[in-house]
Subunit: 414 residues, 2 copies
């Protein structure tokens, strides 16, 4: 992509009311635009990152048998009353509105109820189970405060998955496969050193649920991490009994602040009972379906990556989620020889299938380098009057650059 | 994909309150699920069709220089008051809600205002123009009635594009390129014989806007079509002056019912003046930006295709938007030889990159054929004890089948 065609431009300043590091950098670099506190638009660079993250998640969900769907944001009051989650006293994040006819509707902040209600049409027999569906959907949560950029949105993109199983044993097998899939996701987006599977409150049905917490000062959670065992305990269930149950030792634990990037939850048969979602067992008797619920905040994950990978100059994207692999920078473009070389380099990257942002703008070298550092593409490749038959390559986040042949660089990157 | 793994199952009946042909078929075949009137969930088969349509639209929008973004559904009252489109008397399709702090918000039914407001950050000089952005977004429209299935939704997916130009000349060049791109889209999704570019009311700024109308009894519009000239006039502007202006003759026109599948609109400088979106011209003076707005209802387009391509047995998808290219049906699967053959065929289709739905279920031949006709995949390929070394292929919508070699079929389809 030609940077001269990109409508966004980098900014020296982010909005005065924007306090979070992730949104400050993403706004300045042109990834997002703040519509209101907690609601951000995604611009071309930002959508590319979202798309990379979604692809990684999709691959991992498909690999464990997930089928993609897309439920509606509009929710019927009557359905959520059945499970007693319509009342503002029980769920305090609803956005509510009403149809022209006066019927009350809400905007989905989660989707256990509508997906389970729908499954009454498709689940009849044990032969229909297990069954796993997921979606990428815009969720709406009417948060009282929203000051963490894209870490906590009033409107945000979430991957939520729901599993329907015939019993606890069948559920537990899938639950474990989701843990593995989630670990793969967080590893693949570059967070392997930061994310810990964390035991947290299990609510009404199970002793513990599991969260995936990324250690970051920008977070809102407090966890106790055992770094050698790669596990953690959420502050909310941190006590002697929990440590004993989990086989953890207080002296091995470190108290840290963290961001919840994923959670998985065992609903048992509770919700199916409430909604009347049952099936016929092998023995002909009727039984309620066992429900599990699994979430990853896609936009929150993007914000977490920015919080963890940046320096004073800008963002440092992991390769797997960067909007482009290469930032090609042409200098001395009034020199016809250089212009030809940099255009040739652009074509070669394109032909090799390497995503490249080409800074073809009329601007000082210093301005281009500053923008490049802010945007944070993994490889900065400079073609100028000084680079001769080679190109100058520098990894974002490293200080040393090197003169290399373009062909060698391309085969290295591929 | 193995049909035995697909959680949806075909139904003999659609909901009693579902009056539209498109939703009846799509629900029965397992493409969509009705959450409430005008709000449908998209199931695995349905999402595949949506994804095909979106890819076609994206390619055409990218080809004319469109840059993809994603604005927010949540809208600020204050912004829409500036253009006098917040008031329910002026815009009667708002869903409104409020933030915890009491500030009123609405759900976006269109996005001229927020995109233009955002552009104040990015458009300063004539050098920044022209500029085109588009998005695929869930729109919310609080329709009084919603009885047309996915043709008119309270919640639906729309591709909307906005152009920003320095003057009418620059605008007109792009406007014409959008007409061509839209024609490409409608041709590519299989509607070339049905869609007519239609002159309609231009509102405050221009004499005419342009709609793309697909002839169908399921529509809500009335147009007058000149089939030889491939143009039409909307009933709302059908009069002597219009015919004269457009060089049309009453005797060449046929009055038909139609579905509006796309529209393009010239806002002139009106909205930019209201919002204060201006730029510095070549001569140093300030001028307001010329805005154009262009929409295609993605889910409505899917519904239109179903309305136009179906028979008493089910849907007949055009190849370009079908969820799969091939519906492979295995019969006599208790015969190990047949089972091996059909599994081999599945592998061969997969390896050839041909999307295939494999009916591997234990079910009668009649049941499988009925499901296949309902789902409407273009090629039905049967492997049974009778097909020997060949496979039986039938195009959906045709009655004749033929025994052919699998390799020949694969090379034909590719």
């Amino acid at each position: 992509m030609f940077q001269s065609k990109l409508f966004t431009k980098s900014k020296k300043e982010s909005p005065a009311d924007e306090l979070s590091r992730n949104a400050q950098l993403l706004i300045r670099a042109g990834y997002i635009y703040k519509e209101m506190a907690g609601a951000y638009a995604y611009l071309p660079l930002g959508l590319r990152v979202i798309s990379k993250i979604k692809s990684i998640i999709s691959e991992e969900m498909d690999a464990i048998g997930g089928q993609e769907i897309l439920m509606t944001a509009l929710q019927r009051k009557e359905l959520w009353e059945v499970t007693d989650r319509w009342n503002d006293e029980n769920v305090d994040v609803w956005f509510k509105s009403e149809l022209k006819g006066g019927q009350k509707v809400g905007l989905g902040w989660s989707h256990e109820e509508p997906v389970s209600e729908m499954m009454k049409q498709y689940i009849h027999s044990y032969k229909d189970l297990p069954l796993y569906v997921y979606q990428f959907q815009t969720k709406f949560r009417n948060e009282l405060r929203s000051k963490s950029g894209i870490l906590r949105g009033r409107e945000f993109v979430m991957k939520d998955m729901y599993s329907y199983c015939k019993d606890a044993d069948q559920h537990n097998v899938f639950y474990k496969s989701v843990i593995d899939a989630y670990i793969n996701v967080f590893n693949r987006v570059g967070l392997s050193d930061y994310v810990y599977i964390t035991s947290a409150s299990g609510g009404a049905f199970t002793e513990f649920s599991h969260e995936f917490q990324a250690i970051s000062e920008a977070g809102e959670d407090t966890i106790y991490v055992d770094k050698s065992k790669k596990v953690a305990v959420n502050d909310e269930v941190y006590n002697e009994k929990t440590l004993k149950d989990l086989g953890l030792n207080e002296k091995d634990l470190e108290k840290v602040t963290s961001i919840e990037v994923g959670n998985i939850f065992d609903f048992g048969k509770m919700k199916s009972e409430q909604l009347g979602l049952s099936f016929t067992k092998e023995d002909g008797n009727s039984e309620y379906v066992h429900l599990g619920s699994y979430g990853i905040g896609v936009t929150r994950l993007m914000g977490t990556i920015v919080e963890l990978f940046n320096d004073e100059k800008g963002i440092i994207w992991p390769d797997s989620v960067a909007p482009f692999k290469v930032h090609l920078i042409g200098l001395n473009l009034d020199n016809a020889d250089v212009l030809k070389k940099v255009n040739d380099a652009y074509d070669k990257f394109q032909k090799a299938g390497i995503e490249v942002l080409f800074d073809d703008r009329e601007m000082s070298a210093g301005g281009k380098f500053a923008d490049s550092d802010l945007i944070g593409v993994p490889y900065r490749v400079v073609v100028s009057a000084k680079t001769g038959d080679k190109v100058e390559v520098k990894r974002r986040g490293e200080s040393e650059s090197a003169l290399v042949s373009l062909d060698n660089l391309i085969s290295d990157i591929k």
